[in-house]
Symmetry: C2
Subunit: 368 residues, 2 copies
């Protein structure tokens, strides 16, 4: 086993601050959990895909700290990010007599992390929780920053809370078991940080994309670290998305419409975001904010990462109309007006409305 040092990125949010630890062979290292609050019991929330791979190792590491360590295993997939599944966590917590100090551990990808976080925010009005993300997408994005929640048939993440974990433990070793499709989905969120905040990082990704796709340990470690640094910088300035933080949703307005329109779970979240970034780049160009060659460059990178760059057809009669209808449900919309995250090709993003006719043209051009 190759020994890497533990990298640490701090999320600075006053009394809600916490560290992100990044290293290989970390999830069963008891030292990683040294600063987790004391309690009688812990509950690991995971899914049926991740449980056989990593649950026993985490249980063992926590056994030293907690008198009892419970495990609840959820079905796997975005289509299960529902109240019904969340309730399985509450049932287990109450059945085991878990109290207000019980610590929840989210072991899995974005869906497990979002649901465990919302369960922790809501159980007895709030218990502590720790993120142990096992997918690239969760390590670089969803486990960091305290966005938690579940989907509603009418929109993604419509019910949830801003609730920060005590700690994020990114074990790079878990990325070795990730299906290639999920690795690509995670790369969508890595690529995202380039155009919105750091064009030098975009250059680095372009240079190192092949290494990332073949899971080179050094390349993955840097991609996770730099992504977390950028996310920490944004979240530290705007925890509850009253302004700046919305730039992290670059590609997500179109992406959420794709996910909701196809039915949750058809496309992976990262796939929808990858394609959504291409559509948002085209819209930025239509608004005169970015050059056509940058749109080409970003599209090429998204394609090379193994992600779709053409949106799916969501309606045979009025495809663009269906996209618009779904996007009006977006959380960034206000008074019925969709607000898009647009880019300028020089490390910064902003929020903009756009005329429906222009958005329709972009959708028509970007859908197959």
């Amino acid at each position: 086993m190759q020994i890497h040092p533990i990298r640490c990125v701090d999320i600075a949010l006053g009394e809600r601050s916490y560290p992100i630890l990044i290293a290989e062979a970390l999830l069963d290292n008891p030292a990683a959990y040294r600063d987790v609050p004391n309690a009688t019991s812990a509950m690991i929330v995971t899914n049926e895909t991740v449980a056989p791979l990593y649950a026993a190792r985490l249980e063992q590491a926590l056994g030293a700290r907690f008198k009892s360590v419970h495990l609840v295993t959820l079905p796997d997939g975005e289509e299960y990010k529902t109240w019904q599944t969340l309730n399985l966590v509450f049932d287990a917590l109450l059945r085991h007599g878990c109290d207000r100090k019980t610590v929840l551990f989210a072991l899995g990808g974005g869906v497990v992390g979002d649901m465990t976080g919302f369960a922790a925010a809501s159980y007895m009005r709030g218990v502590p929780f720790v993120q142990v993300p096992t997918t690239l997408l969760a390590q670089v994005d969803s486990s960091v920053g305290g966005k938690t929640g579940i989907n509603h048939p009418l929109g993604k993440n419509m019910v949830g809370a801003f609730y920060q974990p005590q700690l994020v433990v990114c074990d790079l070793g878990t990325l070795k078991t990730l299906p290639q499709r999920e690795l690509s989905a995670g790369l969508a969120e890595v690529i995202k940080y380039g155009p919105i905040a750091d064009m030098a990082f975009l250059d680095w990704i372009e240079t190192n994309l092949d290494a990332l796709l073949r899971r080179d340990a050094v390349a993955l470690a840097y991609a996770v670290q730099r992504s977390c640094e950028i996310k920490a910088w944004v979240v530290g300035q705007d925890e509850r998305e009253s302004g700046l933080r919305a730039i992290l949703n670059f590609g997500h307005t179109f992406g959420h419409a794709i996910e909701a329109g196809l039915g949750y779970g058809k496309w992976l979240h990262g796939e929808a975001v990858g394609c959504g970034m291409v559509m948002a780049a085209h819209l930025s160009h239509a608004l005169g904010l970015v050059q056509a060659d940058f749109v080409e460059r970003l599209s090429g990178l998204v394609r090379r990462a193994g992600l779709p760059i053409k949106g799916p057809c969501l309606s045979d009669s009025d495809n663009a109309g269906r996209y618009l209808e779904l996007m009006r449900m977006d959380k960034k919309a206000e008074g019925g007006e969709i607000r898009f995250v647009v880019i300028d090709g020089s490390s910064s993003a902003s929020m903009r409305a756009a005329p429906d006719a222009m958005v329709r043209q972009v959708i028509d051009a970007c859908c197959s």
Copy 2:
């Protein structure tokens, strides 16, 4: 119509501070809502009992402030304080295209207030909300302090959030339509403030109980104001119940067991709390903390208020055992140990564990 001045009690919680306004004919006075945040839309959440009485008046007052005012009417009763009912609110919010600035108005008693508050805490990860309590219990207790949530079959208020309203509007006029049983239930929470914080207020309640029971406007105004002052003082020191705030649960440990054991909705919450206070007073006496004559005095007052002082039988085979089992689910329990709020007969309360055998004796003596 008799004109009273508007009384104002402030909840001091830094940037989450807000006023409680108390007066007659307040709910349709647009001035009451002057400081509510601007938004395109508002949503009134109420129930089928309260809607025909007060919804139109509130809608009219809000019509001046919001472009659209929506209404969602829930079934009435503690047994509907569930996820299924809460989801009706999310459905309505999404169906009407409500956004992250939409203001929710809870028009009703404790159940409506707790569910609307949790809906506001969770919809799009948090929208503003206003409490417009129409029962005595909600005006003196549940609408103030930011405890929100729903019940779980295994325990009361097990899923929820600490989430503060922007404003509480107590219209004393609404108490005129309250059924006598509900008035008595509200008096349980008024009486509670005496032993835990203010024995002079307990004296005042004893002197003025008949006036309160016949809904004398001046007596009710003072009872609501003084109760809110005491609650504001406690919540201002301990918003998230890490210590002091737990004293507000005097009578609630036994009370929640009664509610869960009988099935939600059989006894009103205030009835269970009234009886629970008598049981907690007996336990305080058994622990040597309070004189027998104070237990008698409190029991007499609870009975005069029209509330039960004998607990129901929750199990034919082992009644005390069933109470204990249910109380171990209490949110104040830690590591399986029940922590009771006990009183000393001189304006103060504290948290204590008690031997099971002693608790059994108290239950046996207090149940019919």
